[in-house]
Amino acid sequence: MINTVCDEMCLPPTDMLYGSPYEFLETGIEGQALFNLPFGDIVNFLTPYTAVLFIFALTFTIIAAISKPERQVDTVFGGDACYTKDIPQDTLRFQRFMAIACGLATMGGIMAGDVFNFTLFTAFIGITNIGIVAAVKNKHILDNAFEYGLLAMIGTLPLFVGAALVLATTGTLSMWGLFNSSAAVPLFAKLLLVIGVIAEGMAPVFVAKAEITRAPGAPFILMVHVSSLLIFLRMIEIVISV
């Protein structure tokens, strides 16, 4: 009995939407799901809205992967001398790795079809952002990385508590169930998810405050901004739809 099911399941899940166990999905923003990608209980999907976000994230991940950061040029005041700062090779490699990981996490968060999975991807973005910022060898910037890290850590509380409350009050975590059902998610859970994402997406504030964009290897900082923006937009879709 089990194995016969397997034969169908092993096929690529392109035509699964019809006659599938998932109900028709209609999000609060821009229409229904384009396709689904089942991983057991977690069924990922993209809507026209999130597809745009996904392409955006993909573009910037590719840019981070192939870009060669320019060297920082310092001009000496009072003279016409200027000198370039070399970025250590391992710092560059590490930041590129973190930027790509951040891009992948952003894409995962955009595709997530499950509230807890979404919160985990958001936490993933937080930790990669900490990595990107902390790679710069400068006391001032490390201070900021630490402050942001604290915020990202305490931000996991609202995220996880929010997801736990969604599960407790509705009995499911799947967005396929939550977006349709009449079982309303309480305001408290929604608020927790919102402030959780705010904490994880706070990185650009610290980036701007510490003027990290002027530090060596700055182009990878771009990924911090992109990921925060996209995860905010995705969070808005979830909160409106549930």
């Binding site: 092993c10 630490f146 850590m153 305490i154 996991t156 509380l157 508590v161």
Partner: protein, 227 residues
Amino acid sequence: MTAMTAAVTSVSVTGAFGLSDFTIGIIGAIVCIFISFYALMRETDDLHRLLLTDLIEVIALIAIALLGTDLAEALILPGLVVGVAELTAMSQIYTVKEKLVREPDSFLDIEIMHTAPAIIAVGMLIYGIILSGFTGGAVAGLGMLFYFVCRGTDEKTEILETISGYAWVMWVIAFMIFMILPAYWFFALMLAGAGILAKVAIKISILGTMRKNDGNGGSRQIGGGND
């Protein structure tokens, strides 16, 4: 199947004051949130704030645990790991930023630390492999931790990091097998079990190598970080 048919009690029952256990629990969790976040608001010392964040992570786990289902138990594990992972990275950032790289002047130097490590570490490693999975990883990791603490290491951290990368890849492959070729679930299960064994063991032993001991019982002075 006998487990299912025997006297089975549901976890969720009605508690005191006519409120459900869940309601009482969630009120307790919210009170904990008040206390811990108020403490965080008032605290100014960086190290204490770092410790408070760990306290806060625990409250998140409490909220998940209130569900009382097997799913809750499974969700706690990622929640816990996220907290531990972030704490690890943050402690390192704290150490670097405060330049706390100097070793304590004296380190416990007793005879047993020169003779025992190998046999104890091998024993714990074998026992860990028998246990397999998360528990096995913890046991094997502790064995390796003990070995590295006693013997000291030079360039082993990079090797350990590489192995941990492979463990991660094993895990992902196991997941792919579960999803694409579910008929081979047993192979995938063993792969994942071995992956988590390697992952947990290596991560614990990395902590051992970061302890920085040259193996002579004494300590090695490490130069402070320069900006």
